[in-house]
Symmetry: C2
DNA sequence: TTAATATGCAACCATTGGGTTGCGTATGGT
DNA sequence: ACCATACGCAACCCAATGGTTGCATATTAA
C-alpha cells in the first residue's frame, strides 16, 4: 500500500487529471454524478456537440478509468467509476499537505533570518 | 461564497486539471513542493528535457495559476501557488461526495425494486 | 416488415501541445 | 574587460486532440 510514498504511483495520476482537464468532460462527469447512469444519446442532449463527440470524450474518461459503459439493449449505459476519482483526490491531498509543510519550513527560515 | 453550488465555477477547474494532466508537470509540482522555490536551470537538471521545454511547462502551470515565477538577478525563481490546488482539491471533494450520494440513492432504488 | 432509435467505425480536418534548435540579451564572477 | 551562466523569444516539427461527417449495424416499436 502506502501509495503516498511511491513517486511512480503518483505520476500515474497524470492521465486522470488530463481526462478531467476538459470542460466538456467535466460536465459529463458532473451529469453522471447528478443524474446517475445514462445513455450516450441522453448525455448528448443539452450539449452543442455531436453524439460522436460525446462518445469520444466518454472513451477518454473510460481510458482514465473514471467511467465505465456497458451495452444494454440498443443503448450503452455509462456510469462513474469512483476509485480513480479517489486516486486523484488523494494526490491533491498529498500535494497540499507537502506544500503546507514546505510553507511552514520556509516560514521558519524567514523568521530565523529576521530574528 | 458557496463555490460548491456554482456550476460555472466548477467548470473553471478544467484548466487546472489540464495543467496537472502531464507527467512532466506533475513532477515539476512535486519538486517545487519538496525542495521549495527553484530556478529554471535547477528544475531542468535531472530531466531529459531542454530548459526551453521546462520553461514551457512552467508557463502552462503559471497560466493555470498553480505556480508563480519572478526574476531574481539572472535567474527566475518559481514557486507553488497553493490556492488553485485547493480549488481542484475541493472540486474532487465535491464530486466524490455527490457520487456517494448518487450511489446511496441508486442502492435504495435497487433494494426497493427487489423487495 | 418497415421505420425509427441508438450506436459503432473510419476518414478527415484544423488546432493545440510537447519538444527542439538557434539566437539574442542580461547578470554574475574573475 | 571577458567569459560563463541563466534566461527569453521565435521558428519550426511532429503527434495528439477535439470535432465533424458519412455510412453500416443492431435493437425496439408499429
Amino acid at each position: 500500500m502506502t501509495p503516498d510514498r511511491d513517486p511512480a504511483r503518483l505520476e500515474s495520476s497524470a492521465p486522470i487529471f488530463a481526462a478531467l482537464g476538459d470542460a466538456t468532460r467535466l460536465k459529463l462527469v458532473a451529469r453522471l454524478c447528478q443524474s446517475g447512469p445514462q445513455s450516450i444519446a441522453r448525455l448528448t442532449r443539452g450539449t452543442p456537440l455531436t453524439r460522436q463527440g460525446i462518445t469520444k470524450h466518454l472513451r477518454v474518461l473510460a481510458d482514465a478509468g473514471l467511467v465505465r459503459g456497458r451495452r444494454l439493449g440498443r443503448e450503452s449505459r455509462w456510469e462513474l467509476e469512483p476509485q480513480q476519482l479517489i486516486v486523484a483526490h488523494r494526490y491533491l491531498d498529498l500535494i497540499s499537505k507537502r506544500w503546507d509543510a514546505a510553507l511552514r519550513r520556509l516560514q521558519e527560515l524567514v523568521e530565523e533570518g529576521s530574528a
